[in-house]
């Protein structure tokens, strides 16, 4: 039987969840025996060329590109997993949800303390059509597409990611020790 195919991506996240995946240490050798990686920052495959079994999503949706990638993952993966607080509830990027987008952009590009003082007047809010549009707020992935499983944590503990993946691939029941399920 061929190995289950896994795709991963980071949307509005910090790549911390991917780092935590690497934190499974030498079990990574068992992991490549268990699964095959397809589209993922891990192997730098950029586009889907076949149907995947498991799609792992880090980060929520803060712009139109995030939404497109997420929808692409839903189309090309049989099972989708939200990995980490940002994918599950928006996380740190969602701290802007109470602030109007206009105010956020003005603070970031026009008025913020880190904007170059000498370039007053030349400051603009980038609005090229190549740039993804910022959404009105940051959305958890399951409010955009159907998500099948959730692995909380910031980042999720490596042991939890490992146990969840192994349980999913082998079809065994996932036992979650108290210490590994954390939101921080």
């Amino acid at each position: 039987m061929s190995k289950p195919v896994v795709a991963t991506t980071s949307l509005a996240g910090c790549f911390g969840c991917h780092m935590s995946l690497l934190d499974i240490d030498d079990r990574i050798l068992q992991l490549i025996d268990l699964v095959e990686f397809h589209k993922s920052p891990v192997d730098d495959i950029k586009t889907f060329s076949k149907m995947c079994d498991i799609g792992i999503i880090e980060g929520g949706c803060c712009n139109s590109e995030n939404v497109h990638v997420l929808q692409d993952f839903r189309k090309n993966c049989k099972i989708l997993i939200s990995l980490g607080e940002c994918a599950i509830m928006g996380g740190l990027p969602a701290m802007r949800n109470g602030i109007p987008v206009k105010e956020c952009l003005e603070e970031g590009y026009l008025d913020g303390p880190t904007v170059d003082e000498n370039k007053k007047g030349a400051r603009i809010i980038p609005n090229d059509e190549e740039l993804p549009m910022i959404l009105d707020k940051v959305y958890p992935c399951h409010e955009i597409v159907k998500v099948d499983y959730f692995i909380p944590g910031c980042p999720p503990r490596a042991d939890l990611i490992w146990e969840a993946l192994v349980a999913l691939v082998t079809g065994n029941e996932l036992k979650i020790p108290y210490e590994v399920l954390k939101f921080d």
Binding site: S82, E85, I88, M89, G90, G91, L92, A94, M95, N97, G98, K137, P140, H142, E143, V147, Y149, F150, I151, P152, C154, I176, Y178, E179, L181, K182, F183, D184
Partner: protein, 231 residues
């Protein structure tokens, strides 16, 4: 006075007259989760996490006195899922950013979510607009995290009997407010008490943040309630 006999999930228990269901359960080594309730405070019954079923009715365990012959359902799948739903509703109706919260690891709402293995709330996030009040010297108030338990209202009272915290508005608009002048006059111990009595990270003591390292915090390795169940 003779003891009252009653059962919780079929287990024979005894209680003193006047004890609430939550207190009596605790005395018998049975954990009923609480969030708004705090030992020594007059029960408020605001959060309903302690809901139990007795006589075919759902009752708040923190406000209902135990009675002779009561048969109480506590850990049934129906009640446990109801409690989990309440926790999930509290998570979506506020802005609970655990990764950036100083109370993380010591937070009772988070601990309950761990106990009930909340992987994701089943309800849509509401992202309410809430205020942060940071101009008192010893405390700041992040209303994003408030669950309206009223513990602070009931407990934090000045030596001359004035309430430092009070409720404003009603229903879904309810907010907790702090009298900044009175808060400024609180002793260091009382300010710390205000942070400790808050079950979430709404009341935060300034200048002492992140004192306990990850791994040694209150709920890092032991679930909430295990101290009662383990007796």
């Amino acid at each position: 006075m003779s003891d009252i006999k009653f059962t919780i999930d079929g287990k024979e228990c005894t209680a003193k007259s006047g004890q609430t269901i939550v207190e009596a359960a605790k005395a018998n080594g049975i954990y009923i989760p609480v969030l708004c309730h705090f030992d020594g405070l007059k029960p408020a019954g605001t959060c309903r996490i302690c809901t139990v079923k007795t006589g075919g009715r759902f009752m708040a365990g923190c406000t209902t006195p135990v009675a002779e012959g009561m048969r109480i359902d506590n850990m049934t799948p129906e009640i446990e899922d109801m409690r989990k739903q309440i926790i999930e509703m509290l998570f979506v109706e506020g802005n609970h950013m655990c990764p950036v919260c100083e109370k993380s690891g010591n937070c009772e709402l988070q601990a309950l979510a761990y106990r009930y293995k909340m992987m994701v709330p089943r309800f849509p996030f509401l992202w309410p607009k809430r205020e942060v009040v940071a101009n008192a010297p010893k405390l700041y108030l992040d209303k994003n995290r408030c669950v309206q338990c009223l513990r602070c209202v009931r407990e934090i009272i000045t030596t001359d009997g004035k309430n430092v915290f009070a409720v404003k508005e009603r229903g879904g608009k309810t907010t907790i407010n702090m009298d900044e002048k009175l808060a400024a006059g609180l002793s260091d111990d009382m300010a710390m008490r205000a942070m400790d009595i808050c079950p979430v990270g709404c009341i935060i003591r300034k200048e002492v943040g992140y004192k306990v390292p990850i791994g040694q915090r209150k709920f890092d390795s032991k679930p909430i309630g295990s101290e009662i169940e383990g007796r």
